[in-house]
Symmetry: C2
Subunit: 250 residues, 2 copies
């Protein structure tokens, strides 16, 4: 099945020639589901929820790309088709249920249907990141890999108190290399979830395996609902990102 129309790409690269040592990634940038997949059986309003994409994350990532002069590689399709922060072996890659929402269009997918999603949505995106990082390695350019995410305030009925989460696992170089505290907001490491929850797939695949400085940033999505809030958070985050990558040329 053709999910991504021929001639189109599953990903986009913004500011590819940016001079920053930081390469930004946004795997949950979009809630787009092509007509052929019939909204995966969901109601139109469900596609506006956090289950379909990371609300506000792409806006923050674009803002950072400009402020830092950093390349940004973003996925153009909804995480509900394939969650690019999961390996194909993880049930969450093509979830039959996301949080409390059943995803009818993901039920009992055939091997062929699963492979279509892997090969059209996930792999081209990951290979774009890989090619991009390979070219920098070949040119001996230092790289810090940073992904921008948002989380929902209420999850499974429970409220989360963290505002800014720095997911880093063992690589604390960026997370502890600058001051990430902002008055009135709570910054926490490996919250509201962490490595044990299997959410660091992209960071492990592209960051850890290359020994790159890497960090996954999670922002409460109620804080970045509109463009001006997104821009404000981009400005906030640019400062510690620059400080933490100074030794790399940031």
């Amino acid at each position: 099945m053709q999910i991504v129309p021929k001639g189109e790409k599953a990903f986009q690269i913004i500011n590819a020639k940016g001079h920053s040592p930081i390469v930004l990634v946004c795997e949950h940038a979009s809630n787009h589901i092509p007509a052929s997949l019939k909204r995966l059986g969901l109601k139109p309003e469900d596609l506006e929820r956090h289950i379909a994409y990371d609300i506000g994350a792409f806006g923050v990532a674009r803002g950072l790309s400009k402020l830092l002069d950093a390349p940004l590689i973003a996925q153009r399709y909804s995480r509900l088709i394939y969650d690019c922060n999961r390996s194909p072996e993880q049930p969450g890659a093509m979830p039959e249920k996301s949080e409390i929402f059943a995803i009818p269009g993901n039920r009992k997918l055939s091997p062929k249907a699963r492979m279509d999603r892997i090969s059209q949505i996930s792999r081209p995106f990951h290979r774009a990141i890989e090619d991009f990082l390979d070219a920098r390695a070949a040119a001996l350019r230092p790289t810090a890999l940073v992904s921008i995410h948002s989380f929902t305030r209420i999850y499974h009925g429970k409220s989360r108190t963290v505002d800014l989460g720095l997911l880093c696992d063992w690589d604390t170089r960026l997370a502890r290399g600058a001051n990430w505290n902002f008055p009135g907001f709570s910054t926490q490491e490996n919250q509201p979830y962490g490595p044990a929850d299997g959410v660091m797939h992209l960071m492990n695949l592209h960051g850890a395996t290359r020994g790159l400085h890497h960090l996954m940033i999670e922002i409460g999505n109620d804080l970045i609902e509109n463009q001006s809030q997104q821009q404000q958070w981009a400005k906030r985050l640019a400062k510690p990102l620059k400080a933490a990558t100074k030794a790399l040329g940031g």
Copy 2:
């Protein structure tokens, strides 16, 4: 520069339809250096040394592929052009010096020359593994990833006493899931080197990031110099490999 001739592949897949849950990998299978690279400035006899490939490893891997009915994905070019068990960021990927041997043809490579090697030798091999594992994941087939290596007995003038090394880092499921001891030989975990030496790149890239059972097997190359020794070791290793993957259908 065209290193791999057009129409040829940097890798080969043997027994692709094998029924075993084990997928074998041999990244240092070959000492082949195409004429265009002028032996990287080395003498013909240098290409027979462990610096050019893992002596005997491909023979053991082929033997295991047959005995286990397991697919085997092998690199067709020498590790001296690009070491597929290193990320492009690691100096050892295209080493200017390997053990005590200077590699003249790897000195001061241009970004273009480095990228040629990454894109022609390393990536096609890794993407073949990735595609292969993706297809198995899509079909919900369990997989254990096992790479076959050999090491040189004398390294930097020191003799190594281990005969069989099981490199596993945190994933001890295969290494401790069977009896790997053979009378008269010394089996040791994470010897003669281990994760801290940066030698688990392929295992991390394809095994750990997918949550697959994975294991890197290292055999003293003086034990597998000829075909009959290679076959003998394949027979030896088939037993614990089958036992350790029983739960996966091995």
